[in-house]
């Protein structure tokens, strides 16, 4: 699927693609699209809040986050398919080929880059949702909370994929960054979902 395909496919077709086979779109693309949905919800809340001075600026930011997330859905699908192919080749051939193992490791490492960005975008979408929940029209506060929850879910899923793709490298700074994004997103979502906290 190309970047445009994600936007041009009917929702039914996109969902069928997700469940069709082991290829993209997979977990990373789904996480990215979840963040895109979250950002569009924030844009909706902002648009429906005429009394909010920053509403237009927040709408523009939310739309930008959504567009970036859709592009990442495509990127993640592409690099993940490449990594998957390399993984299957390695399984078929058996172990012991250092060059092939190195190539596989490189592919998996590349596959961690997109989810890292998705997690970061999830944190930004959740932050924007928190702003919308605080300053937006009260009628749409629940939508802002829903946006934050979706963004946090997308960030959590993406952070998990970073962890998996980096494998044993638990001290890799990218893993720490992904977990920071996940925690930040959850912090914003929790505050909106349970204001008593």
């Amino acid at each position: 699927l190309t970047n445009d395909d994600y936007l041009d496919l009917r929702l039914r077709e996109l969902l069928e693609r997700v469940s069709a086979d082991g290829l993209a779109p997979g977990g990373g693309s789904a996480a990215a699209l979840t963040v895109a949905f979250a950002a569009r919800l924030v844009a909706m809340v902002a648009r429906c809040s005429p009394g909010w001075r920053d509403a237009v600026g927040v709408t523009a930011q939310a739309n930008s986050i959504s567009e970036r997330a859709v592009a990442l859905a495509h990127t993640d699908g592409r690099v993940w398919e490449e990594a998957l192919t390399a993984l299957r080749d390695a399984e078929t051939a058996g172990g012991g080929d250092a060059r092939r193992d190195f190539a596989l490791e490189q592919k998996l490492e590349a596959a961690a880059a997109a989810p890292l960005e998705i997690a970061s975008l999830g944190a930004d979408a959740a932050e924007l949702a928190a702003l919308a929940g605080e300053h937006g029209d009260g009628t749409y506060r629940a939508d802002a909370a829903a946006a934050a929850a979706l963004a946090a879910g997308g960030a959590a899923a993406a952070a998990h994929l970073v962890r998996v793709n980096l494998g044993m490298r638990t001290t890799d700074p990218r893993l720490a960054r992904a977990l920071e994004s996940e925690q930040a997103a959850h912090g914003f979502a929790d505050a909106l979902l349970d204001p008593s906290r």
């Binding site: 237009v56 600026g57 930011q61 970061s120 975008l121 994004s181």
Partner: protein, 189 residues
């Protein structure tokens, strides 16, 4: 304010006047201000190769230099440059034997790309009217796709205020664009 910054703040009409007076710094600013515009029309609007776009670029700026005195309304510099560029692009396409639509009959896609180039240039000019801080934060978020966290860390701005700052800078950009539109429509009346 440096000399270059002072010239960058000049409206087109003043820039044209200074160019006509032979001010070399004004010429530099004119080329700086419109070089990406001319190039974008050639490459994005007319799908020219880089080599052909370079030829168009050289030719258009030579024509601007030799014919600036023929421009009757100095505030209409941009549409004049756009027209020169479009004509030159069509000449290049004709010389390559490509079937030519009339200027007004560009394909929908090419027309949309040209409109996008115009819009991008308008926004870029309006950005120049904002404070350095606003230009910086908008560039980081919208052009460099930086996260709020990265912007906060690199500009040493408290996290949690970035989104609001961006929103306010966008508000100023909007006012700047509206002001420009009003000035432009006023100058045409």
């Amino acid at each position: 304010m440096t000399e270059a910054t002072r010239y960058a703040a000049l409206p087109d009409s003043d820039l044209v006047r200074r160019c006509r007076e032979g001010d070399a710094e004004a010429w530099n600013e004119l080329v700086e201000r419109y070089s990406r515009y001319v190039y974008a029309i050639a490459v994005r609007g007319f799908r020219l190769s880089e080599e052909d776009a370079e030829d168009v670029f050289q030719d258009v700026f030579t024509r601007i230099y030799t014919r600036l005195d023929t421009l009757r309304d100095a505030s209409a510099l941009r549409p004049w440059i756009a027209q020169l560029t479009r004509r030159r692009c069509l000449d290049v396409l004709a010389s390559k034997g490509r079937e030519l639509p009339a200027d007004e009959m560009l394909t929908t896609e090419e027309g949309a790309d040209l409109a996008e180039v115009e819009e991008a240039f308008t926004v870029r000019q309006a950005l120049g009217g904002l404070s350095d801080a606003c230009q910086e934060i908008l560039d980081r978020f919208f052009a460099r796709d930086q996260s709020y966290k990265t912007i906060s860390a690199e500009l040493d701005i408290p996290s949690g205020t970035i989104a609001s700052r961006i929103a306010r800078c966008l508000g100023r950009l909007r006012s700047e664009l509206e002001g420009r539109n009003q000035r432009e429509s006023g100058s045409r009346e």
